[in-house]
């Protein structure tokens, strides 16, 4: 079997606050294979961006990585010294930050920013760099005639696309994209995702794709991890996740979003809200909101366990290798309709 490109093991990240520490990432493990698109989803505040920032080690205090390993091509990023880290960030990963829209240099024209990124990595002439920046602007659907525009002269979505163009210009083995399309309409989003797919097939890079948009995630990812309050609670090939969610939280997520296609239906939501991470519930962090909760869920924490078919779930409803179909159970239980 091929080695994973990225192997995150038992990653633990804490935000040290005055009133105690918040464990925003709670011993998370996952792997991304070369050429694979791994999607990460979960409610706002569950720790998705924190994971992305940890991989690059660009977390700011009071965030501290307090445990685990981030193995990239077998080397632990958490052990790298400054030079190695610099080299790693430079040549191995490119990241589109969640705040992309405002991460451009405000006083530099966008075409120049892309050309600069290219020239910082490769020796190419100004003319070639400009030509490539024009190509990249086309990839993200910005009229190349606007390459002399400053960031404030672009719409929110155009700024977001300019940042995607910069990340693509670096052509690294791994691309991390944190909510890269929040400011894009679905047509532009679809075009960009198709372009990305093509580039990915051409160059073979891997993608860590973070979004709360499950429909998009299912279409674009090969495998998906669902996070809840700092834990990955379910992992599955994306083709299986929607039809057969195994974690009650995943089920809830899938049934709480309004669809454009099909008849207008009442929506089911997940009752309650995510836990206060300062004092998370003992046991399964989802237990207080779970309609299938059992006594043991409130006392001990279920671990991510293989249930067959390349799937993993952290839930006591399932036994190792023996998944249960939860949809009928969920449907018969009290769910709220909003």
């Amino acid at each position: 079997m091929t080695e994973p490109l990225l192997d995150v093991r038992d990653l633990r990240v804490e935000y040290k606050a005055l009133r105690g520490s918040v464990r925003a990432v709670n011993d998370v493990s996952f792997q991304i294979m070369p050429g694979e698109v791994y999607g990460l989803a979960g409610e706002s505040g569950c720790g998705k961006s924190t994971i992305a920032l940890s991989i690059l080690r660009v977390l700011n205090p009071p965030a501290v990585i307090t445990g685990g390993q981030v193995l990239f091509k077998g080397r632990d990023v958490l052990d790298m010294n400054d030079d190695q880290l610099e080299q790693f960030r430079w040549s191995e990963v490119a990241m589109v930050f969640q705040s992309a829209m405002n991460s451009l240099n405000p006083v530099m024209r966008i075409g120049d920013q892309i050309a600069d990124a290219i020239q910082a990595h490769e020796r190419v002439s100004d003319k070639d760099a400009e030509e490539r920046s024009v190509e990249l602007l086309k990839v993200v659907g910005i009229d190349p005639n606007r390459r002399r525009a400053y960031p404030h002269e672009l719409s929110g979505g155009m700024r977001q696309r300019a940042v995607i163009a910069i990340a693509l210009s670096l052509n690294p083995p791994m691309l991390i994209m944190d909510e890269p399309t929040t400011a894009l309409d679905v047509v532009v989003q679809q075009e960009i995702m198709m372009q990305l797919r093509e580039l990915k097939e051409q160059f073979g890079f891997s993608v860590l794709f973070i979004t709360h948009d499950l429909s998009l995630l299912v279409e674009f990812s090969d495998r998906i991890g669902i996070m809840y309050a700092g834990d990955i609670v379910e992992e599955a090939p994306s083709s299986q996740l929607f039809d057969d969610p195994q974690h009650p939280y995943t089920w809830g997520l899938m049934h709480s979003f309004p669809l454009v296609h099909g008849p207008r239906m009442a929506l089911t939501g997940i009752p309650g809200s995510p836990p206060d991470l300062l004092s998370p519930p003992p046991g399964c962090r989802f237990a207080p909101r779970c309609s299938l909760v059992m006594p043991q869920c409130s006392t001990s924490r279920p671990l991510l366990t293989p249930t067959g078919n390349r799937r993993n779930v952290a839930c006591y409803l399932h036994e190792q290798g023996r998944p249960v179909t939860i949809s009928p159970l969920m449907e018969s239980r009290g769910t709220v309709t909003v």
């Binding site: 829209m101 405002n102 009229d143 998009l216 279409e219 899938m254 454009v260 207008r264």
Partner: protein, 347 residues
Amino acid sequence: MTEQSHAADPPILEVRDLQKFFPVGTMFARRNLRALHHVSFTLRRGKVLALVGESGSGKSTAARCVARLIEPSAGQILFKGKDMLAEERRGASLQYRGDVQMIFQDPFGSLNPVKSIAHHLARPLRIHKKSSGTKETAERVDQLLESVGLAPARQFSDKYPYELSGGQRQRVSFARALAVEPEVVLADEPISMLDVSIRMGILNLMERLKDEHGIAYLYITHDLASARYFADETIVMYAGQIVEGAASEELIQHPAHPYTQRLLDAVPDPKAEHGFKQGAGGWQPPILVDPPPGCPFADRCPHAMPVCREIMPGRTTLNAVHWVRCHLHGSGESSPGLSEPNLPLSA
């Protein structure tokens, strides 16, 4: 909800023939970017008007003109019947800036990094005199935070923006807009970074405030599903022009403009086969700088006819709750410049 007649709801804010040009190019070769071209719409008390459209089509520009953050090149903004651009020529009054609130698209850029969350909410309360005294202000701040799901409020009020996740920041922006009890809320992608469960919480909150206080919303969104569930009417913008308008469910069921059809087609469908549907293939951003005549979508339109590259049609009424500007449906009963309400019957 969408089917009922809107005739009874008085317009609170009317936008008529709004135009906006931005100068672009170099000092020696000045050119104009046409960001808004004869944009008209009406906001009504207790109603939600969704504005959807392509990235870069002018949605934020329209909202920023209405909020008087930038000045339109031409057109009228009627607030409660008063022509604001004429009455408050030198910029909006404090009153208007309180009555018409904007929620910005970018939750990372719109909060001050060195001020606490409580400060962001207390400041508008004080400026617009919505609370007096430190204690009352603090209580109101807590209430606002909890109303957008940032509970317990104490856990958030002393934090700084960088300590919050993207979705949490978006909710702070929302609470800030609500702080001053506005009559009109211009919400520019207020939930783009929220996951579905919180998204529904915010939409429900917006709906409650709409019903309780009669707030009128302009809801700019890329999420057609939420427009379907939440907005009474939806208008579709392409390259600075509004090309279609209808009751929201009608628009989803019977999109008439080829751009709207393309938009609905591109919505990811988790129940469909895994992998992306093939797009229409045309990946041609519209030309906004010195735009050619005719319909801006013609270059990407699978049904384009010669006339489409010459004349932009006016509005054609399809039924009581639906109109479109497309030659496939007629050349329009009115010239594109004429101002009209969102729906044919709502006048």
